[in-house]
Symmetry: C2
Subunit: 169 residues, 2 copies
């Protein structure tokens, strides 16, 4: 493998002082494009066969083990905001995918459980989802898959931290 003397960076300070940027090498752009294609493909999978959206699928995914959670807990685990969760839940109530009963100790918290119908969907979707994931990673070696796992964890941690930082003054 030829190894370039120095990693060719996007930065090109150039005598004029104007740095250049190639979108196709810009990490945020690349991640966004990848995410779009993947989400779109996966959404088609869910929607076509079961008529559910990604937020609904995520809720089914976290409740799929039979657990009972509040809307807030679902929001945390699915990385969605509470508005999104609220709306997905109301759709799922309409389509009888979820049961809601208010808690005894705290009546603000609604306890949410999947209906048998939703559990069936879960049981059907999971293999499809995993099959897609397997196909996606089939282009990688076992070692690369492990690397990917580690890199994603690191990037996510760093992205979270940078997002939390108010603003580089």
């Amino acid at each position: 493998m030829a190894s370039p003397r120095r990693k060719r960076s996007d930065t090109e300070p150039s005598s004029t002082g104007t740095a250049k940027l190639h979108l196709t090498r810009f990490l945020p752009y690349r991640v966004s494009v990848l995410s779009n294609v993947v989400s779109h493909t996966v959404a088609k999978l869910y929607d076509k066969r079961f008529g559910i959206t990604i937020p609904e699928w995520r809720i089914i995914a976290v409740l799929g083990s039979g657990e009972t959670l509040s809307a807030g807990e679902i929001a945390q685990r699915t990385a969605m905001d509470k508005v999104q969760v609220s709306r997905a839940i109301s759709r799922m109530l309409d389509s009888a995918l979820i049961l809601r009963e208010s808690g005894d100790t705290d009546r603000r918290k609604a306890l949410l459980t999947l209906t048998p119908k939703a559990l069936e969907i879960y049981a059907e979707i999971v293999p499809l989802a995993l099959a897609y994931e397997a196909q996606l990673t089939s282009a990688l070696t076992e070692e690369e898959a492990t690397q990917l796992d580690r890199l994603l964890i690191k990037l996510q941690a760093q992205a979270d931290q940078l997002a939390a930082t108010p603003n580089t003054p």
Copy 2:
């Protein structure tokens, strides 16, 4: 490093026939969450200081070198659809960030160029964008960054192919 005997997969065929899935280990979900955080952070960067959206920024990015492109070419290079591009352009015309003149040879194609004002924004944003990218990858070693690059390319290629495949019959 302890190496697990076998990669612990999400699949859990289990005697009942119901596979399980942990959202937090599901690649499409992970990529989506990462993309959201990153995009959100970056959008704040653009929006706060320059009042532009991500589509507008992308257009500025591809035209930033001074090139003249048609809307269709912009759509291709930015991975946005033509509707998104059309709308971004009309906003940019309003805010005097872009110039449009119809081509001589084909009057359907509008030739688009950035105004000096937009070029200034470009010159200001690029360092900020690159700084963010640098911070994001600062958690990685040089080698890891190279791996990431390779993995993203592979994943994108595979995702594109799977998206193109009509439907696994």
